[in-house]
Amino acid sequence: MAEATYPGQGAAIAFESPVLRCAGLTKTFGAATALDNVSFSVPRGRVVGLLGPNGSGKTTLIKLAAGLLTPTAGQVLVAGSEPGPQTKAFVSYLPERPYFSPSIKVARILDFFADFYADFDRPLAEDMLARLQVPPNIHMGALSKGTKEKVQLVLVMARRAMLYLLDEPIGGVDPATRDYILDTIIGAYRREATILLSTHLVADVERVLDDFIFLQYGTMVLHAPVAYVHETFGMSVDDYFRGAFRC
């Protein structure tokens, strides 16, 4: 086992091999650089906020970890392996937009997830959907935007995954729905799993985070525990974010 410290961490922490590791990770799209030489490790059992303004590279980083993109340079490893069919079996990914066909029924989606993911907890998903009052025979196209996002989140969090990659889970929804989403994330969270949650709404997510990673213009500015900002600067992460990224 390796040891590592975060800034502001008093003692070295011994931890297992990181669940997500980026080393010199770079991604370009033509002349545009989305990520530039990003390096960090995320251990198991942490809720990590991937924070930064729009266009900072958060979605690109999450897509690289999910196996939707390939790096231009550097490396991204999930539980020691490059993203592929093996890692996708234990990584649960929530994109920032709805990805189900409008004509598919909710019950059919439950069948789909149960078929492809051995870690899918169907009774848990059905229970959460029942509490949302989403009938199983309704088509996804008949649901409102907020309800669609809730349904997607339920399906993703009902998996007993090792790593959850949540891309802007609370963007574009009302404050009550944001609270529901965050409560669902924490309610379904198991301590042995890791959540990487990207957002620019720092104030809303701060209460659920253990650590955070700040990205700006594709580079990593800071990777630290939330407590580090509180103790070192005497301010919240949101205030630190606003100060650091003031226009």
């Binding site: 939707l68 993109l69 937009r97 189900f100």
Partner: protein, 275 residues
């Protein structure tokens, strides 16, 4: 996992194609009825006189027009299978649905094979349904009854001959090869920054031109070689050039399918970037 992918791909295609093919059978039945009605009314128009004859003639005309429209609809419906399968490939991988498909714990090979198998199965179903529709239309045109009456003299209708089976296999190979080529064109077109569908159509046209040029060159080479090796055959004769040309066509189609498959897998593995 391949079986599971195939199950959902078949379900997605069946949702659209089953109603279309049932409609095709209904349209063929309507065409047969219109054709029979047109025949009957036409004969009645010949036998009747005056205004009754004109009325029968007018209805006969309407019936034959409806027959023609039905045949046109049948043609449109039979093309639908190909385009629905191609659209399924595009929508499932290169639109927002791609976020789901491309994060499943399956390989790129499994994704492409599943879609090809599902489309191939539906193309076979399409062949059977079109055959049934054509049989109904021929019945209406009295051709069917003529064939049946002649069959009393020449014997019962027989199963297709080996050469007819080969001809069917050749046609089916062509359709599958062009289907996979369409998949590859979509995969290539999705790399464009904008106007992805137009880029895909352009890629498909380029593939078609390339295949046409290759086929033409190979056929010219084969023709020249056979002419040199078998000078006894008149230059204008197709035999043995026909079998050679068929073989060249089959080889080119297999190569097209293989290259298109590889292009699809490479693209899915490394380069998809959903917006």
């Amino acid at each position: 996992m391949l079986g599971k992918l195939f199950k959902y791909d078949m379900a997605a295609l069946t949702r659209v194609l089953a109603p279309l093919h049932l409609a095709a059978l209904g349209v063929a039945l309507l065409a047969a009825v219109c054709g029979l009605a047109g025949n009957g009314l036409g004969q009645a128009a010949h036998q009747a006189s005056g205004s009754a004859g004109k009325l029968f003639g007018m209805f006969a005309g309407f019936a034959f027009m409806a027959f023609g429209v039905c045949l046109f609809l049948l043609l449109v419906l039979t093309l639908a299978t190909f385009f629905v399968a191609v659209h399924r490939f595009y929508a499932n991988l290169f639109t927002d649905e791609g976020y789901l498909t491309l994060t499943l714990p399956v390989t790129a090979h499994q994704i492409v094979i599943s879609k090809v198998l599902a489309a191939a199965l539906w193309l076979l179903v399409d062949f059977l349904v079109v055959g049934a529709c054509v049989a109904m239309v021929l019945f209406a045109m009295d051709v069917f009854s003529e064939i049946l009456s002649r069959s009393d003299q020449v014997g019962l209708p027989s199963l297709p001959t080996p050469s007819e089976w080969l001809s069917f296999a050749h046609s089916f190979l062509q359709i599958i090869a062009w289907l996979i080529a369409a998949y590859a064109a979509l995969a290539a077109g999705s790399a464009a920054a904008r106007h992805k569908v137009a880029a895909s159509i352009g890629a498909f046209l380029l593939i078609a031109v390339a295949v046409g040029v290759v086929m033409a060159l190979l056929n010219v080479f084969a023709f020249s070689a056979l002419s040199a090796l078998a000078p006894a055959y008149p230059i204008g004769s197709l035999d043995p050039y026909g079998p050679a040309s068929n073989m060249i066509g089959n080889v080119v189609m297999v190569a097209l399918a293989a290259c298109s498959y590889v292009a699809c897998v490479v693209r899915l593995k490394r380069h998809v970037n959903l917006a």
